[in-house]
């Protein structure tokens, strides 16, 4: 499986949000997309997910343009988790997770038994068993984020695209979420926009840095997350310390 974007440009209100972005992604691994606010991270993720048609350039999945793939067929292979994902109705947690199976469901009737088992397993795997029947509108921020992640993962997508899944989470829940994404990335492609450089350094295989709608750096996490690149992308000076326990980033 290869997902590849070539020369993507998106213009909005006369301004180029993305300007000639190209990148190719393989079947496995966790790719962190980093960059300052307004760099085009969310737009790039929407384009890669096939939800936004770029003004120029194209995204292909196994050499087939995304636009030529049937919506439901694409939805079965690729999951997308938007920024601040939430649910407007007081639906039980397990039913929200089951919504992730929408592209495979028959038009009528309740969930098939095999799907119920998948939902139950995913609820368990995301530590939501205690909240199984709780209305999703009454969950805490961390629980809601886990529910939404479970919703995205329940279909076992080949590609998971998540837009800032850890924004607003406390350190423990942010780490938990990345551990789950990391685990999924062993057998699938996971593309995540993150602001926390230390988390990116610790969990990502590859880091794609955007600035002003262009690719500023793209490569192995260790090669991209250097004081020079961080300075070029974010205009801040950092000291990066790596030891056996992980990566520390100190803003100077």
């Amino acid at each position: 499986m290869t997902l590849s974007a070539s020369d993507i440009s998106v213009r909005r209100g006369g301004r180029a949000v993305l300007d000639g972005v190209s990148a190719a992604f393989g079947a496995k691994g966790l790719v962190a997309v980093i960059g300052p606010n307004g760099a085009g991270k969310s737009t790039l993720l929407s384009v890669l997910a096939g939800l936004l048609t770029p003004d120029a350039g194209a995204v292909t999945l196994d050499d087939v343009p995304l636009a030529a793939i049937d919506r439901r067929a694409l939805a079965r292979r690729r999951a997308y988790l938007p920024q601040n994902a939430r649910c407007d109705w007081p639906i039980a947690v397990e039913r929200v997770v089951a919504l992730g199976l929408t592209p495979t469901l028959p038009a009528l009737g309740d969930l098939p038994a095999a799907d119920l088992a998948r939902v139950a397993a995913m609820v368990e795997a995301c530590d939501l068993a205690a909240h199984r029947t709780q209305p999703v509108t009454t969950l805490s921020g961390g629980e809601l984020a886990r529910t939404m992640l479970a919703r995205a993962l329940v279909g076992a997508p080949e590609i998971l695209i998540a837009d800032e899944p850890v924004a607003g989470l406390d350190p423990r829940h942010a780490r938990d979420a990345l551990v789950r994404l990391r685990a999924h990335a062993h057998g699938a492609l996971v593309i995540v926009a993150v602001h926390d450089l230390a988390l990116a350094a610790q969990y990502a295989d590859r880091v794609l840095a955007l600035r002003d709608g262009r690719v500023a750096a793209d490569g192995a996490a260790g090669d991209v997350l250097t004081p020079q690149t961080v300075r070029a992308v974010f205009d801040v000076d950092v000291r990066i310390e790596r030891d056996s326990e992980g990566v520390g980033i100190r803003y100077l």
Partner: protein
């Protein structure tokens, strides 16, 4: 999953109310009169009350379902075709055919125009309030649509060379089930059934939309197509209802709100209960207006607005946190 008990309960309620609707009124028609074709009350039951009862069920189901579908699509519990101008747009469509005299020569044009008015109403509502509508802009858009369409109905009827204009304005904007015949039933039923079919077809899409448009689109839902089918479905169901009864508001607001706690919140699962519950509410309200001791029968639209207004207010207070 437990078996839903609310569906049989609601269906039983509709059957009981339908029986009561055939019996109750100025003249009480007991069970014995049902079987004696010579009894004068037999004619009352089958020629006056049967069409009225069938229409109450059809129109109630159409309005309850339309309300549930609009709420599901907009993720807004205050959406209702009657309150937010869709029904008034249908009335405007119907009244324009009367105004230009088409209705007298081609009778099928009136319901078609009502359906067209309702479809335009839904599309306008969604367009004015925009894609990322807040509760406030959405309700405001509906209120604006409601007042403009209502004023246009009144204007058209006033300009027409028509001595009964005031009465007719009232008839269209405050609907009723009085003196309807089987002709109205056969006119409305196919359109309502077709609209309901379209709405039920959107079940999964409405469920997915609970997660927002971006998530729903990523789950394979075609948002544009869903919006068009919703406008068509709601337009057919609501437009056909208004064509035969005039505007009856608040059914689509009250019923889904009362039933949501029993269905687990998913908009798709709320559709069928809302249709059955809508039928029950309109039947019950129609029995009540028939039994109210007043010189002229209170209009059903008036009775439901009297009930629905305070209900709407109570819901607004309940939602204050989201509105503010």
């Amino acid at each position: 999953m437990t078996r839903p008990w609310h569906l049989p309960a609601l269906a039983g309620l509709v059957i009981a109310l339908a029986m009561a609707s055939l019996m109750a009124g100025r003249v009480w028609a007991p069970w014995s009169a049902w079987w004696d074709t010579g009894d004068p009350r037999w004619a009352i039951i089958f020629e006056l009350r049967l069409p009225r009862t069938l229409l109450a069920i059809l129109v109630g189901a159409a309005l309850g379902l339309s309300g549930a579908a609009m709420q599901g699509y907009t993720r807004n519990p205050l959406a209702d075709p009657g309150v937010l101008g869709v029904s008034s747009m249908a009335a405007l469509g119907a009244v324009l055919t009367l105004y230009f005299g088409f209705a007298a020569t081609t009778p099928w044009l009136l319901p078609v125009a009502a359906v067209a008015g309702a479809i335009i109403g839904v599309l306008l509502l969604l367009a004015i309030s925009g894609a990322a509508a807040s509760l406030i802009t959405f309700v405001l858009a509906g209120v604006i649509l409601q007042s403009i369409a209502g004023a246009a109905v009144a204007l058209a009827l006033s300009l027409a060379p028509n001595p009964w204009a005031t009465q007719e304005i009232l008839d269209w904007l405050m609907g009723a089930l009085t003196d309807r015949s089987m002709q109205e039933v056969t006119l409305a039923a196919p359109l309502i059934v077709l609209g309901a079919g379209l709405i039920f077809h959107l079940r999964r899409a409405l469920d997915a939309l609970s997660l927002g448009e971006a998530s729903a689109a990523s789950l394979g839902v075609d948002i544009t197509r869903t919006q068009r089918l919703l406008a068509l479905g709601v337009g057919l169901a609501t437009g056909a209802s208004v064509a035969v009864t005039g505007v009856i508001g608040f059914v689509g607001l009250i019923v889904p709100h009362l039933l949501r706690p029993f269905t687990g919140g998913e908009p798709g699962r709320l559709l069928l209960p809302s249709a059955i519950g809508g039928a029950a509410l309109v039947l019950a309200a129609d029995i009540l207006v028939r039994l109210t001791p007043s010189a002229a029968e209170v209009k059903l639209g008036v009775a439901l607005s009297a009930l629905g207004g305070p209900f709407f207010l109570a819901m607004l207070f309940g939602l204050r946190r989201r509105v503010a």
